[in-house]
Each structure stands twice: as structure tokens, then as C-alpha cells.
Symmetry: C2
Amino acid sequence: MKISANVSSMQFSPIRRFNPIAAEAEASGKKVYKLNIGQPDIETPTCFFDAVKHFDEKVLAYEQSSGDARLIDAIRDYNRRDYGVELSADDIIVTMGASEALNMTFATILDAGDEVLIAEPFYSNYSTFIKTVFGRIRPIPTRSEDGYRYADRKTLESALTPECRAIVCINPGNPTGLVLTRKEMETIANFAIEHDLWIISDEAYREYVYDGLTPTSFGCISRVADRLIVIDSVSKRFSACGARIGYAACKNEDFMSGMMKLAQARLCVPTIDQIGAAAMFRLPGSYYDETRAKYQARRDAAYEEIMKIPHVICRKPQGAFYMMIDLPVDDAEDFLMFMLTKFEDHGETVMFAPAPGFYQTPGSGRSEIRIAYVLNPDDMRRGCELLRLGVRAYNAVKRRAAS
Amino acid sequence: MKISANVSSMQFSPIRRFNPIAAEAEASGKKVYKLNIGQPDIETPTCFFDAVKHFDEKVLAYEQSSGDARLIDAIRDYNRRDYGVELSADDIIVTMGASEALNMTFATILDAGDEVLIAEPFYSNYSTFIKTVFGRIRPIPTRSEDGYRYADRKTLESALTPECRAIVCINPGNPTGLVLTRKEMETIANFAIEHDLWIISDEAYREYVYDGLTPTSFGCISRVADRLIVIDSVSKRFSACGARIGYAACKNEDFMSGMMKLAQARLCVPTIDQIGAAAMFRLPGSYYDETRAKYQARRDAAYEEIMKIPHVICRKPQGAFYMMIDLPVDDAEDFLMFMLTKFEDHGETVMFAPAPGFYQTPGSGRSEIRIAYVLNPDDMRRGCELLRLGVRAYNAVKRRAAS
């Protein structure tokens, strides 16, 4: 039986495809520190579970396709209070995580062969979302030495093609942790206006910026309101990845009309998770301050340990909870297989995401990995120590094999 | 800003697009009997809510992309116990309702321009799912006088084109309520083998067959195992539409590999709803017997009342909980607008789904509607009585306008 050529050309998630091998390592008794996936160990706010437990309808009915009215209200209040962004209820469609918002967004704006600009390395699932509707990614090249910055006029212009319909900004960045400056955001805004591009601003990590930086949103730049699609999610903000609640916000009526056709076709998003999410959006500002401090401590612990690896290249990221690390290894995927199947230190090893999956350009990122600093500082230190011990053991094996 | 030509060509849900007008009628104080949507008033089994309330993890974490292991086990046991169908864990991917299973299925098997056979009228969201990946529906024509039967060799052969990759069977049927006979299923199986087609069997209404018919599954026909994709959902079976839990089951490894790429990209399905769904799949067989009897009583009440409408054409459906009705009106959409904005009887009116949205062939189904017999028998009787009174009032207004 024939599978579509389109799906055949897609890759498995570089973050998830090694899961079965990690599961085997665990089954054999090893402890695996999971730095591969953005799954925080921070407790989900109890208000989520309280709201879910107080649900007392007898029939678990469909919700509106655009989302539960109480959740939409909470999203509006949160955007107004924390970012000064005014959204009407019609500007919001609640989705199954940011993932569905992105799937629906690309289906709404792209025809076959259309292209989307995105800085490389990028969150790999964009590739699948865009390919599903026969679109193509046009990568904006960056360099680890420059901290993966991309938002200058010259770099943007040289990546542009006539087929480009949109520019994606994951801000704060995944996998790079890059936080755009206000000047860079203005540059992107001007570039998008000049070339009539949609701006897709993936702000799932909005609040998680460090070293005193102020959280922001593309929604604050009002002159792009008719071309701006903000993608957001409760997964990372509230450590509620399993709720699968996100949303797309946009003030362009044609766009929202297209989105609504797709939203109606899939009927709605789970009812009780929406009720729980509404409660979380009403958490006070102190929640973000406390959680931000936790991530900053995790980042600092990880970075300190990572810098002990001889010949490593790593810049301290200022946002999200990911760190790109250029390791002194030939092949990060082969190194990961080594770590999961051969290496152990006191019965422990570490898992990470090899970077080639975050690049579209063949051969890029071979020695790079992404880690997520989602575990408590002690676990982060131990995970990064295992990386250092692993690099040494791996290169020793390589040298023996070569001699 | 440009929206994709593809999404522009899609329609809004014929089941949901009149919701805002119904909401206005309700805001004005009218009671609206909602026969437009398959939202049962039957209580969701309490085991769902009990399981949800006993969830006691501190972190609401991502689930596996393929689904929660306990839910997959429960789905396997249910299929074995009730249908004699053996599925391995690798044969199942849990999805956000049947809707996501269908979105992912068409993305996995279709390339741009590929076609899918489906009997017309069909559940309208198929059109959106298939168009999203640039596929096309090839409708198999049916006639209300034949009870919408389509599964004979000649009818199937004459609809086939070289571009067809799959045949969809919604069984029991939505919107027609048609239940395939075993002979018809064998005919479809042979036809699919001969022309190398996938069989997509949408069995969301499996248990709801009446008049002593036995529930069945395409999974019972083992010679199509390598080309069969079963789509299923808890929404209708357990009156749990707001849980948004479904699954795709298939024994073809290439297909499941493609599905897994898409499943990994959207990460996972909500965690607590999966736990609730697992409990429902473990309900005893008596649950289905009781619920089936309720729907049969609702169907009988509705049908009896519908047959009082002069000049109506309607066949008593044998499955699902929908009924197609050919009314003595010129235009079912105009009639619905009349019912929501002008008509009332003792402050009450009724909402239904106009049938043109279930046809792809232009001009078809103009005088037909679909009702869902999801309300208790008294409400069904009253809803259908309002239809009868409405038809009389609508045609009287029409006659006055014409004279």
C-alpha cells in the first residue's frame, strides 16, 4: 500500500525518536536524566486540578469551536494586564496546544509551494507542520558564534524569496534561547510590512527571559496588527504540557475566518482542560517571577557545569529553557546512541536532543546538541556532568577504534 | 493579506455555522431544540469523572505521542472482547477525537490531487480534512428512495477514477444512518483489494444499530488487514464529546510509521482525558444495551412525529443517531433561517442541519435536512412537532409572498 510521498519525506521528531532506546536503557536499570524534552519538573499550579475537580456537569459536551468563553476571557485579561495587548473574543481561537495552532495557521495562509522564513536552527516540528500543507521552509542561516542572532536587515533580505508568505519568530527561541531585542523586533516588523509577509510570533516562552530582561510580545507593535499571528500555549508557562491547551490570536478577519473553518471541522478542544487552563491564566504576576527565578537558577547551574567540558562552545541563553551546545564530538546522534546503550556512571546516563534535527540544511549541527534546563539545579548539574564524562568516554573509545 | 486559496475554497460547518443565529434566538428568550448537532443529552458515565478526579500527579506532563499505555490497553481489550479483533499496541495511535485521526490519516495517505471515494451525502467535515492536504472527494451518488445504499459493485465501479487512493465507509452512517450489511462489507473489501485502495472505516457509531442488528467492524474481515484504517472515538459511544479522545487503528506498518511522524509533531493528546477514556472503554456490555435502547426509543419517537408532516420523505434509519428528512420546502437553509429568526410556537423553535452541506455535488439536497435524535423522546417529539408546524408556517408565508 502506498503512503504519501509528502509524509515519507518527513522526519521523526529529533526530540522524541530516541525515546524507545531510552526506555530500553531504563528497563535495564539505568537512570536517565532527560534533558532532551521541554518537560519541566515544576509542579503544575494546583488551581488547574482544583478547577478540573470542581467540574460538575453531567454531560461532558462539545465546547464552542473557538474555545470556552471563560478561557477566552482569561486569555484576554492576561494579555491586557501583562502586555497591554487588547484582544477581542473574535481575535482568539483556542487550540490543542501551540501545535494545533501552528498546523491550522499554515493551512490557512499557505498554498502548495509557498515558503516560510525561519531562523535556523528551529524547533523541528515546524518542518512537519509546514510540509503537511505542501509548504517549504526557507531557513535564515545563523552562527553559534553570533549567539544565533538573525534579525538584521541584510540577513533577512538575503534569505527572502518571491515565494515567501510569512516569517516565523520563536521568541524567546527554541532551540537557541535567543531573545529578540526591541530593535530587532522593529526590524522584523518593517521587513514584513515591506515584503507583505505574515509575522507568526511563537511566544510559548514569553515570560521566561533572564538577567533582568522584560517579557514582551509582538502584539505591542501595533502597526503589524493586520499581519500578526501570535501563537501561545499553557504547556511551558504553567508546566502543564499534558493539558494541550494553546491559542492563536490575530486581528485579521480573513485569517480568523479561515482558521474558524478548520476549527469547526475538528469540532473543539477538550472541555475540562480549558476550564483548568482558564484558572491558570488568572494566576498573579508573582507566579511568573517565582518560576522565572527557578529557571534562571537551572540555567546557571547547567551552564556552569557545561563550561567544564574541554573545547565546548556554548553561549549562555537569555530566554526559554533551552541551551545549544557545540560539543567536541564528531556526530551528536552517534554520541547519543553511545550514551543510551554503552555509557553509564554509577548506573546513570543522560539524554539530549541531537541538533541536526533542528537544521534543514544538510550537514549542519552535526556536533551540536540541545538540552532543556527543565530539571532542578542538582539534577541539571548531574545531567551536565554526565555529558562531560560521556564526551570523555566516547572520544576515548573513538581514539582506540582509530588506532 | 493573502489567505490560501485552498482554505478560501472550504466551507464552514453546516452543523455549526448557524450557531450564532441560534444564540441570538436564545438571547431573545426563545427555547431552541438543538437537533442540528450530535450532542447527546445522555449522561457521561461517572467512571470518566471519577478517573479524572483521582488523577494525583503533581506535574501534568506530556503523554507518549501514540497515547497513554493504559488507554491503549483498554482499547485493545474492548476490541477483543466485543468484536474479536486483535490489535497490538503498535496498531493504535490515540488522537484528539476521530477528527484528528482523520486529519492525520489523509495527510499520511494522500498526495496533492489524490482522490477519496465516499458515499454522498457524507459527514461534511471530511471535505475539510481532505482538502487541507490538497486531496479531493470523489462522491458515490446515492438516492434517498434507496435508503442511501451505495455498496454494490456497479455503483462503486462507476464512481472510481485512476486518482482514487481510498474508500471511506462511515458505518453506521452519518448523516444517513445507513448500516452496511455483511454482504456489502464484503463487496467493499473485494473492490478495495482489486483496485488497491485503502479502506477508511469510520466506526464512531459502531454500537448504535437497531431493530436487532448486530454491531460489527471492518476489522472482522481479515483479508483487508493491511489496507484497513479503523477510525473510532469515545464522543458518541459514551456521550463524551468534550473529552476529544479518539484513535486510529491499522496493521500496516508503513501507514503507522507515517502517522507517528505527525503524532510526534503535535506531541500528544490531553493526559487526564485519556485516563477518563480508559475507564469508559472498560464499561460492561450492558452499558451498550441500555444506551442502544435509549437511542432506539428516541429514533422511534422522532420518526413517528416526522411522518406526520404532509409530503415528507423519510426512511427509518437503522444506525447511528441521525435521520435524513426530505421536507416539502424549496430551500432548507432558508427554512432554517426562518425557524431561527421568525418562527416560534409557545416561545419555542427547532434547529437542524440543512443537507446541502453534506453534498459536494452542487444543487443536491436542497430540500433535505439532517436531524440528530440525541434528545430524550419527549424533546424529540416536540422538536419534530415544531418542524411540522414550521413547515406549515413557512410555506404559508411563501404562498402569500408569491400571490
